[in-house]
């Protein structure tokens, strides 16, 4: 496969200008608004993708066109106008600011509370970096260590070019193009994302976190992630960032696919803190995510997530337990405040024998927010001795918020053992006074109580992430009890 150069591209675009029905200046960073097949082709071209990838996108697009946006979730929002969005925007290379002094002080205050280093603050808020950035050299060191073990860790765009055989083999195998409305859209127009492959028997020697976080700033609207753990390998992957992400893009529709081959283990941790909108709920991000993992024999996938952001969240990290003795886990903390709405949960599909799944969901609602847990445990006929344990706890703060639990169970094998526990509690004034009396102010008291409530899930996060996530919970709930 020959590689396009900038010039080839320019030529090609010029000649195809007609065909696309619009004029695209290759120097321009943003496509015109709207979505049609030409736009999809143009995205693929711009990203210098091989033909099979272009075709795959087109196929997805055609499927998407015939689909309707789902409305079964317990969320209310104005449906996005998909023709009013621009589907390609090159990563902004130019720094937005010259120094931190120009950045919104409120944002900086939050960074400070989270204990984010100055360098990282600059990176995250788009400030020009002087000198050689510390983090870049860290990233290089990481890359070297990983390469020595044969671990591939790069952007999905890079992977499509450098490792097409792997991408081609696995993309869309866990979340098919037509899986759902948002997944189809993502498959057609995904901007970028990450790719990770861990070879047979290799234990990834580090949390894929710091590196990722550095590359996190400015990821697109339609992120695509593909993680493959080959037989007997292990990887722990951290996605997201505790720093508040103020994105102008209102709609986010990511797809994450995890593949754990025989005896492999993937831990996937997410901290999501998209802009939730102002206290009236205006301007927040809509986050519609499809995350799914496939477990082969004796494999294990754990999803751990801390969700504090977005105006509307629609997200169900799931596990398909295909192989015998495979294990799926889902640990989640979802915080909603003000007017946020979250409909999140998981799906555990038991296909293989002796498959086991655990679901621990902690929903915290404050303000006027609505927090729903939706879980499906499915045991197929072949899945002898499948076991599931689910626990869904809700914590309410104040009288205007809501917590809802929708557990669905479908068991087609009599040997299945499924347990479900649910609790709802409220932060009591007595608890707060007790803390106050010991010298702990109300805000700190709430943080303490919330952290206690979330402990089982926080404990599942890698150490440094857990500390940040704890602070994030604190900040998300600030001022929620008057």
């Amino acid at each position: 496969m020959s590689k396009y150069t900038e010039d080839d591209l320019r030529e090609e675009l010029k000649t195809k200008e007609y065909e696309y029905g619009f004029y695209t200046d290759i120097e321009s960073d943003t496509f015109p608004i709207g979505l049609n097949e030409d736009i999809v082709r143009a995205i693929s071209l711009k990203k210098e993708e091989p033909q099979w990838m272009t075709d795959w996108r087109i196929e997805s697009f055609r499927a998407w066109e015939k689909m309707v946006e789902p409305d079964w979730a317990n969320v209310k929002y104005v449906k996005p106008d998909f023709q009013a969005i621009s589907y390609y925007s090159a990563p902004n290379k130019k720094p937005k600011y010259n120094s931190l002094d120009e950045v919104d002080p409120e944002l900086l205050a939050t960074f400070a509370k989270l204990g984010i280093s100055l360098d990282e603050q600059k990176k995250l808020s788009g400030v020009a970096m002087d000198v050689v950035v510390d983090s870049v050299s860290v990233a290089t060191t990481f890359k070297k260590t990983l390469a020595e073990k044969g671990i591939i860790f790069c952007s999905i765009s890079e992977a499509i070019k450098e490792h097409p055989e792997l991408v081609k083999k696995y993309i869309g195998t866990v979340v098919p193009q037509k899986d759902n409305f948002y997944a189809a859209l993502n498959s057609a127009v995904f901007s970028d994302g990450s790719f990770c492959y861990v070879p047979k028997g290799v234990k990834c020697p580090m949390e894929l976190s710091t590196y990722f976080r550095i590359n996190q700033a400015g990821t697109g609207q339609f992120e695509r992630t593909l993680v493959i753990a080959d037989k007997g390998s292990y990887v722990s992957y951290l996605e997201g960032c505790t720093a508040p992400s103020r994105d102008e893009n209102q709609l986010h529709a990511a797809v994450v696919e995890l593949i754990a081959l025989d005896d492999a283990e993937i831990k996937y941790s997410t901290v999501q803190n998209w802009y939730p909108g102002n206290s009236e709920g205006k301007g927040g991000v809509y986050n519609f995510v499809t995350k799914r993992g496939l477990c082969e024999k004796n494999a294990k996938i754990s999803w751990t997530q801390v969700e504090t952001g977005s105006a509307v969240t629609w997200k169900y990290p799931s596990c398909v337990l295909k192989g015998d003795n495979s294990v799926g886990e889902f640990y989640s903390i979802a915080v909603t405040n003000n007017h946020q709405q979250a409909d999140t949960g998981t799906k555990m599909v038991h296909l293989g024998k002796n498959t086991r799944s655990t679901i621990i969901s902690k929903g915290i609602s404050a303000g006027k927010s609505q927090n729903s847990y939706r879980g499906l445990v499915q045991v197929h006929a072949r899945a002898k001795n499948a076991r599931n344990f689910s626990q869904c706890d809700s914590l309410l703060m104040g009288n205007d918020c809501g917590a809802h639990t929708f557990p669905y169970i479908e068991a087609k094998n009599k040997t299945a053992r499924i347990e479900h526990e649910a609790t709802t509690s409220k932060i009591g004034e007595d608890q707060i006074f007790y803390c106050n009396q010991r010298g702990i102010d109300t805000e700190k008291a709430i943080a303490l109580i919330v952290n206690g409530f979330s402990k089982e899930v926080l404990n599942k996060l890698p150490m440094e992430f857990a500390v940040e996530a704890q602070k994030l919970l604190e900040i998300s709930l600030e001022g929620s009890v008057g």
């Binding site: 009591g428 006074f433 803390c435 106050n436 009396q437 010298g439 700190k444 206690g452």
Partner: protein, 250 residues
């Protein structure tokens, strides 16, 4: 140290405290007794700064300062401690983590750094030993599933950690078995000095055999209707409250 003057307080427009006068000096132990519902816990909560209670008249001075406007946590930082009659549960927060947070918040208020982990650990061990508490206990969720007696012992453990100037013990003895009562009372006595003071709320003379009060007050219907020495407690134990109620009504 504490000077309460003609204190009236109400909750939800229901008047509960109806003119309390009480002065506690450093080094003193005071006991408050009185029938159920007479307002003992209310008085404790008002001193500690619980917001549900509205002070409608009178003043509370702590070390000469009117604390009416101070939030509960600020009063705690000044050295007021309340051992609750009914300690609340905080699931998922360990005894250790809770007390660590409490100590460091108080230090922060005084402009001090967090206590180094090593010192904290040492202090916790020392005080746990003083109250003969099992180590395992310290990692359990605060008050969750604690027996009545364990809750009370844990309150005094926190008191020992925080070393308050004024400790109010609201029925700390109820729920304690005989051995535990002795241990807890010994703990309190060890913490006593000429610079701090204790206000014990109790129904029973038993506790006062260990923590010997300088003064005993009887609270009835929101007022202190009788004060005396420790002999008064014996008298109450023997005769109940009726004679006092009669005296008041006479």
């Amino acid at each position: 140290m504490l000077k309460i003057n003609n204190l009236h307080a109400s909750v939800e427009d229901k008047s509960i405290l109806k003119g309390i006068n009480l002065e506690i000096n450093p080094g003193e132990v005071h006991a408050i007794m009185g029938p159920n519902g007479s307002g003992k816990s209310t008085l404790a909560s008002v001193i500690a700064g619980k917001e549900d209670y509205e002070v409608t008249k009178g003043t509370i001075l702590f070390e000469g300062e009117d604390i009416e406007e101070l939030a509960a946590e600020d009063r705690a930082h000044k050295g007021i401690f309340l051992s609750f009659q009914y300690p609340v549960e905080i699931p998922g927060v360990s005894v250790t983590n809770f007390i660590k947070t409490a100590i460091n918040e108080s230090r922060k208020a005084k402009g001090l750094e967090d206590m180094p982990a090593k010192d904290m650990l040492k202090l916790i061990r020392e005080k746990a030993e003083l109250l003969e508490m099992d180590r395992k206990f310290l990692s359990r969720s605060l008050n969750e599933g604690f027996s009545g007696g364990e809750k009370k012992r844990n309150e005094i453990f926190q008191m020992a950690m925080l070393e308050p100037k004024l400790a109010i013990l609201d029925e700390t003895d109820s729920g304690l078995d005989i051995d535990a009562l002795r241990i807890v009372a010994n703990g309190v006595n060890k913490l006593k000095s000429k610079d701090n003071a204790v206000l014990v709320i109790t129904h029973y003379q038993r506790l006062l055999d260990y923590i010997v009060p300088d003064f005993v007050h009887v609270l009835h219907n929101g007022k202190i209707v009788k004060s005396g020495t420790k002999e008064l407690a014996h008298e109450l134990e023997a005769k109940g409250y009726d004679w006092i109620k009669e005296e008041v009504n006479a």
